[in-house]
């Protein structure tokens, strides 16, 4: 069958660097942009919509549009942390459907390794950031927040460290084939649970990498897609949501995917059973387990069991995931992994993933981004993509 689509992803680019000593952040944005535009078969002069998030220096997209020489009639700088770029895909689709632009460029870049920062702090909002006084003094960092979610998930559902480890094991099996991946060694469950505890119950190998780099996407109208050939991926469905602490009614066992997933599936007219491949934001192993449950790939609480025994390994398990090695092994540019999730999903529906991890006859793929923190407030976004003939 041929499904209708309001927009297509025509171009993708994942910057190959993982440590950008000699490049500026705007330069990384522009190298990524040029790569994605060329991949689409277009030029920078064709771009009439520009999307970026907080990693882009300047006020919204103003400075970056100037730096890159863009002449656009539509812009969006929605900021939800690492999921921003998955949200941008949906916003670009909406803008295109409304006739506001026809070639939308989305960029991300950063260099936390070169700059020697572990993870990004919050911007300085003075004392107007309402949650600041009630959290910062207790020293929540990224790792111990996700650790509290893992601890609660283990408590309620009996999830084990060994089950979480399978997420990393699967990612490492895929990363061995990715020449650009930061970590290419295959690891075992024992390797993960024997790696040092960072913050209970998360081990070092439960945590994603920190990398420099960037990425870009080009989203185009159906009319433009027609001129570009069959490498364009259809956007079949998109959803987004914000989940927060809900005035003190805290539940760390689920993510915003419980809302963004059904919206995307409804729009696509599909169910989890229709999905051939998933890119799931993997800041930590627990992020993947909770997200898979929330998207409906298994019952709530069964995620640990679901990911075990290689079930996420391409060619081995039922649900191949993050075949580039994901954030756990390949790349997590600027601590914002949403864009690389979309990029690998597009590679899969194009049939352009590495042959060792390419899902045979991959027709429908899902990419999901999680931004902010699973233990406080997060932006979640789900996009469902179809092969050009899907």
């Amino acid at each position: 069958m041929s499904r209708t689509s309001k927009a297509y992803i025509a171009g993708i680019y994942e910057h190959p660097t993982r440590k950008a000593i000699d490049k500026t952040i705007p330069q990384l944005h522009m190298e990524s942009a040029i790569g994605a535009v060329q991949d689409a078969g277009l030029t920078m002069a064709d771009v009439d919509g520009y999307f970026c998030a907080g990693d882009a220096a300047g006020l919204g997209g103003l400075s970056m549009a100037e730096y890159m020489g863009l002449d656009v009639r539509y812009t969006d700088s929605t900021e939800t942390g690492g999921s921003s770029y998955v949200i941008h895909v949906g916003h670009a689709m909406n803008a295109i459907a409304m006739g506001k632009c026809s070639v939308a460029l989305i960029t991300l870049a950063g260099r936390p390794r070169a700059e020697g920062v572990a993870t990004l702090g919050t911007r300085d909002y003075g004392n107007s950031l309402p949650d600041l006084g009630f959290e910062a003094p207790y020293r929540p960092v990224v790792t111990n927040q996700y650790a509290m979610a893992a601890m609660r998930h283990m408590h309620e559902f009996g999830t084990t460290s060994e089950q979480l480890a399978w997420v990393k094991v699967a990612a490492s099996h895929h990363a061995q084939h990715n020449e650009h991946a930061l970590l290419r060694d295959v690891v075992t469950v024992e390797d993960v649970v024997n790696s040092p505890i960072i913050t209970d119950p998360l081990h070092r190998l439960d945590c994603c990498v920190i990398t420099d780099g960037g990425g870009a996407l080009v989203v185009v109208s159906p009319e433009v897609a027609k001129t570009l050939g069959d490498r364009c991926a259809k956007i079949l469905g998109h959803g987004e949501a914000i989940k927060h602490l809900n005035a003190g009614q805290v539940d760390l066992t689920y993510t915003g995917a419980v809302k963004s997933g059904p919206i995307a599936f409804d729009e696509a007219g599909l169910t989890p059973a229709d999905i051939d491949y998933v890119s799931i934001y993997d800041s930590f192993t627990i992020t993947v387990v909770e997200t898979l449950e929330d998207l409906g790939f298994c019952e709530k609480g069964q995620g640990g069991k679901f990911v075990s025994d290689g079930n996420l390994i391409s060619g081995v398990g039922k649900l191949p995931f993050n075949t580039d090695g994901g954030g756990l092994c390949n790349n997590h540019p600027n601590n914002r992994g949403g864009i690389t999730k979309v990029i690998e999903a597009v590679r899969q529906v194009r049939g352009e993933a590495h042959p060792k991890v390419q899902v045979p006859d991959c027709t429908i793929a899902l990419a999901h981004g999680t931004g902010g923190s699973i233990a406080t407030r997060m932006g979640s976004s789900t996009v469902i993509l179809g092969r050009n003939d899907a």
Binding site: S128, F134, A136, I198, G248, Q249
Partner: protein, 134 residues
């Protein structure tokens, strides 16, 4: 065993305080944990706001909390010079707040454990509510 040693306890940064929350921090200085309740809908919310996020009423008021609760979740940070336990504690009043657990054996912490509020001085001459096992 990883026991919290007062001498090795980390320094607490000064909390961010604004017009909406200064009463909370003044109470902490007086050794009290206070919460904000909405007189219109009757519900307690956290963190405290001028306007109730549950019903939008501006008729909100401070009251003294019991200072008692249970650990909803926690994690002991093992990296760095001084281990510390971050936690969410569900108060008897029904709201859950982020905090640190102090005066404890880190290895014996558990979800569901009963805790009570205590206080720590911070930088900048302020006082921070934290919790300890009962």
């Amino acid at each position: 065993m990883t026991t919290m040693d007062q001498a090795l306890e980390r320094t607490y940064p000064k909390p961010s305080i604004n017009m909406e929350t200064e009463a909370y921090w003044a109470a902490a200085k007086a050794g009290k944990l206070v919460l904000k309740k909405c007189n219109a809908c009757g519900k307690t919310h956290f963190y405290p706001r001028a306007i109730c996020p549950l019903c939008t009423s501006s008729d909100t008021a401070w009251y003294d909390a019991s200072g008692k609760g249970v650990i909803y979740s926690y994690s002991v940070m093992r990296r760095g010079a001084t281990p510390y336990a971050i936690a969410y504690v569900t108060l008897d009043e029904g709201v859950t707040m982020m905090t640190n657990i102090v005066d404890c054996d880190f290895d014996s912490l558990a979800i569901g454990q009963a805790v009570e509020v205590t206080f720590r001085a911070t930088e900048g001459d302020q006082v921070l509510p934290v919790f300890r096992p009962i």
